[in-house]
Symmetry: C2
Subunit: 347 residues, 2 copies
């Protein structure tokens, strides 16, 4: 395990375990991706996106590219949260409009799934090994997976959704059947993250991108409970590996998520006010929450927003990040500008 | 003005001004629409959606249909928030994927707009008159418009958006120019709502459907400030007409919205926890927040969710509603079931 084997913990690991660093460590969600010309050139070497993710030499290079250019404190494994449903037996492809899966439903969904395809994820572990070997010891490598609820939304909706009516209708009509689906996902996710950790990631992030579409009681049942259980299993198996949870859009339910799931750090989205983030920071490290459009715009709005976040949250454990992923239209020089803003002390 | 001229205030008007009623008055966002077969038949009588909205006999009939079938306490004017950009000079049509406008941007956007087309909204006032005349005095008629920020998102994005990068980039790069756009929208919206009120609506709702995509400082500037100003103008001109604000997705910023905008009631979305809603209720009437998918599912999940909302919020001023619009796939009999659940005292 990366950080554990190195002499010094990384800057990322230090704040994830509660230290305060100025300037804060930083990385960006989707820091590897289409806004980088070297990524677009690399992407052309695979016939499709799934193949790209499952070719360790390509995925590792994509993982490393942004760190090489901008010197973030962490790389994040290049992969996709939907490799897990694919490993469970769903067809997966990526079109112009995003991912497409053959949606499952409550009538025959579970029967079509099986954990026997979990070995299809092994190339990802090789990506971790190659990436870890290429990164300096000071650079953390973050593994990740989708949280069970968010993965289930894609599995039941067949892709992105506006109303989440298929997945919610399943969960509301048939809670035991839906719980069985989430358990299947959680088991596969535990195995997947265990594989990533064994291969060398220093921390893991659980992306719950659609946590913010559930009412309170269902949030408790389908976001908090499965996350808590998954975090507990990870902590039992890998007590020193920090877990970052990102319940995007959870609004007023963020506090409960932090209080009850056991995550070491919480990703905060763009709409979370900084004083609310500071309250979360009294319990855990916070990670966020620059608006990706501010990074796209650059200049004075970027400098002002970075300063506001650092002033509000720099007194506690903070991983500087975006509140959502880098937009493909972002000029790379704005990320370089952000790196400059983040290497200077706040003064 | 409807309610003011009638002998008794409507049940809706009573709770909007702070009374507590059991059972609470109710209506549903998008209660007129595609889930109703009589709406689909009516819709076929116009060549396109804009023509439908601007034909008073059709739009008034759509307004009344759900009340005739289910007996809600309020009808809501059938119209569309994008009639305002159209009145300002943008082309508007509705395709399979939603609305399409010829997007404006900061370079020449304002020059292409003018308030001279505001008279194109007059058929909507006639829809109000026809609807008001057809409804019983006990049934409130709600007028509405988009809040300036949300209307601006459609104007700058050219339709629905996932990342809001065009509208945000404009706002972040050129705050004075963007403020001028919002002022133009706000002026047209004030005129539009004044026309609706003069024609007989009893209350108005400001839909800020995309309030939840802005960081704190920008939320203050582009959601709260223009809403507060618009509410103030409405209150000066029509002191007895309640204003409902719906800053969907505002999460932890809901409290500030309620404290600072001056709205009489606040629409709460599905993810707002009921204890947080109760805190809002100490200041204003709350309206919401049943998950539309629960209505789609019906049965015991529906009964349980309705009971939970009434138990948590029935002790204060409450308008029972959804947290988002009725889904087109909703069986009408589930709305009838909801009506039965809402006419019984909670016991």
């Amino acid at each position: 395990m990366g950080a554990m084997n190195s002499a010094q913990p990384t800057r990322l690991a230090r704040v994830l375990t509660g230290e305060v660093l100025d300037p804060p460590p930083w990385w960006l969600m989707r820091q590897a991706g289409r806004y980088l010309p070297e990524y677009r050139a690399l992407r052309a070497e695979a016939a499709n996106f799934v193949e790209f993710c499952l070719t360790p030499s390509l995925a590792a290079e994509a993982t490393i590219q942004p760190v090489r250019r901008f010197g973030m404190d962490a790389a994040i494994l290049f992969a996709d949260i939907l490799l897990v449903p694919r490993a469970l037996g769903q067809r997966l492809c990526f079109g112009e409009e995003g991912p497409v899966l053959d949606a499952i439903d409550e009538t025959a969904g579970l029967a079509r799934l099986s954990s026997s395809g979990i070995s299809s994820l092994e190339p990802v572990y090789e990506t971790v090994r190659v990436s870890r070997a290429a990164l300096t010891p000071e650079t953390a490598l973050i593994g990740f997976a989708g949280a069970p609820w968010t993965v289930a939304t894609y599995m039941a909706e067949g892709g992105a959704s506006r109303d989440f009516r298929r997945v919610k209708a399943w969960a509301y009509r048939d809670p035991p059947g839906f719980a069985a689906l989430l358990e299947l996902i959680a088991d596969a996710t535990f195995a997947y993250l265990s594989g990533q950790i064994a291969a060398g990631v220093d921390a893991v992030q659980l992306f719950d991108s659609w946590a913010g579409v559930l009412p309170e009681a269902e949030f408790q049942r389908w976001v908090i409970a499965p996350t808590r259980q998954l975090v507990r299993r990870l902590k039992q198996a890998f007590p020193t590996v920090p877990v970052i949870g990102f319940p995007r859009g959870a609004g007023q339910l963020y506090e409960r998520y932090v209080a009850e799931t056991g995550v070491d750090a919480v990703g905060i989205d763009t709409v979370i006010p900084l004083d609310a983030a500071r309250r979360l920071q009294s319990r855990v490290c916070v990670q966020g929450n620059l608006d990706p459009v501010t990074l796209l715009v650059g200049g004075e709005p970027l400098a002002n927003a970075v300063r506001a976040i650092r002033e509000a949250l720099g007194g506690g454990p903070l991983v500087f990040n975006l509140g959502h992923g880098v937009l493909p239209q972002t000029p790379p020089e704005h990320v370089a500008e952000l790196a400059r803003l983040l290497t200077a002390p706040i003064g």
